[in-house]
Amino acid sequence: MRKNVSVGKILDTTITYLILLAVAFVFFFPCLWLILASFSKSGSIYSFDGFFPSQYSTASFVKLFTDTAMYNYPKWFMNTLLIAAGSCALGTFLTILTAYTMSRFNFRMRKPMMKTTMVLGMFPSFMGMTVVYLLMTQFGLINHLGGLILIYASGAPMGYLTQKGFFDTIPRSIDEAAKIDGATNFQIFTRINLPLSKPIIVYTALTSFTWPWSDFILPKLLLKEKNLYTVAVGLMSLDETEFARFAAGSVFIAVPIVILYFCLVKNMVNGIAEGAVKG
């Protein structure tokens, strides 16, 4: 039987899709332009035929990884990876612990601590840069990748509210049942709540990874040696005639994060679906 579709419904769907396409174009077009520019054969933005390059080649990417005398992109890439991975692991661990504690335990300063962290979280992170710089000089952590990991990871629990919200949705009755069966708090956390929290752990890990991956201010402040640069700082230090290298570097830096996203997004969706059924 043929379903009756009203004109209004068709019009509504068409307009919605047109708007979505327009918005997608606005966001996608700069990325497309940068990707095409990174494959430009001439390597110069001024030799483009109109808006796009006239000839294409992979020379810029080859140069990016082989011509490392002045601009050591592979080294910058590995530094960024190390910082992001370290911050991701430590930051996720600390954030989940903080969120779980705030969600599951009642203690004397819980409410004031929650309020304080919420207010502190409203201040922009760069506000404390001068203090961070002075502290890092005193600890001898300037020009140390570990210093950056420490700062990113220690700052991560400030944004624990999302994770706490997730833990709040897991019924406490499960904890109580486990307690009756003789489980300790640690066992309840590791055996019951953590497996149920896969989506939020994945989400936390992703955000903990992407922030240091793309940050510029902190690495610029704390890393003085060129060999310790992250990709963001390194790309900013390129000479004005190095546009092709800049474009290729900007495109390549997106690759790991895209791979990571596609690997983890499945867990996020599965976890959320799983939670929904159980809930």
Binding site: S42, S44, I142, K224, S237
Partner: protein, 501 residues
Amino acid sequence: MKKKSIALGMAVCLCVGIFTGCGKDGEGAQTVQSEQGGQNGQDSRETEQPSVVNTVFNGELERDVTIQVLENDTAVSKGYFAELIEAFNEKYAEYGIKAVDANMDQYLDLANDGPYGYGPDVLYQANDIIMQYAEGKHIYPLPVEKMECFAQVPETAWAAYRIDLEGTVYTCGVPVNVQAPMLYYRKDLLPEDWETAWDENGNKIPDMAENWNAMYAWSVRRHGENSSQYGYMKSLFDVYFSSGFLFTYGGYIFGNNNTEPADIGFSAGEAEKGAWVLSQLASTMNEECIDDSITTNAYSKLADGTYFATITTPDMYSTFLEEMILVYEEEGLSKDEARAKAEENLVMTTLPALPESGDLTEEGASFVDTKSMGGVNGYAISAYTKHPNACLAFVEFATSYDMMVRRSELLGIAPARNDAADTAGGTSQLLYNNLEAGNIVLMPSIKEVSQIWTPGETFFIDLAKDAFRPEGEKKYTDLDAMKKGLEGVDQQIYDAIFTLK
């Protein structure tokens, strides 16, 4: 009780805050302050350095030390720096002194990083940057009279590194090379009949490279014949390159040899004629001359033949050359053939002469040498170094005749040493001569220079825009209007320097 506790806590915090300011000053600050040993002002080259300089640089080389040297990117990328430190390390191996690449951004922040021990020991920078550090007491004054290069470097270059602190004159850097705008043009884009029609004095040098009137005429003709091609092209908003046109007709930055910030002279003399020259040149360009588009695209546009000529600093020669080689390779030439052809066709020379009248269309004009803003890059020693004598040995070595000649060969720069400039010949010698003749106005070495850029840029942008405004809306229609515009620039700079002082 609770209130008392809070009050007590606040009082403690206040005391801590107050006593925070009672700590020791940084090492660098202490060093320079202690150097003001009551010596009288010394302007002459023959006078002795303050005794305290001799105390720091006592000639006793520190042994088994590593010094960090910050060079500029070009020196690193062209391999000169590697040669330099290798030669130095070999010579000083017996003392255990080793120079290494500081591995930092060439635009460092010594004022913030130095006190914490993260700056280089020796740095290579432009004179205005070094002297800003000198004013902040972040670098050591040097015993330059004792250095081998002293007699070979012209007084003008040394003057760029002198500072008068409380009546004592210190020299805080050692000049290495002279930077000033050079004309780049394509020999193969000259008109076919240039030897008969564009070489009035028959000296085998095209008139376009000798005077701005011919350059203007050729620019008008080239653009007229093909609207996508241009003659001379340059971003006019750039104060560094445009202000030289004003200086040629009597303008200056600061009075008393660029040391008196209250006397600002962009409008002095007949500087408005220089502004007129710029507005005439703008009329042969496109609207990209208003911002920095031409500065960034000149390398590829000169290479592909869109532009005939431009001006920039001599250290960019290799960048122009590489771009031209790429174009020739795309046309099917081998790497060697492309390089040979590019070297044949790309010409770098000193700036053409300007007409005395400022009129680029005047026939039979008499010409004057074009002045330009320039700088002297050099070495300085950080006041935070623990090995000043080893650093001085490095600077001495790096400014020796052999190293300066080698630097000039590899980087194409103009040495500040007379003997090295003689050996280098060509444009290096021309630049050196221009410096000695006073045609290169060195960037002031006082901190107030930071206030000249924005007002200057605003005026030059407006002047360049004028060429593209409809006839009735033009702002600078005659010399008087240009004079008033420049006087406005002087006033804005003055206000920027003194309003909040």
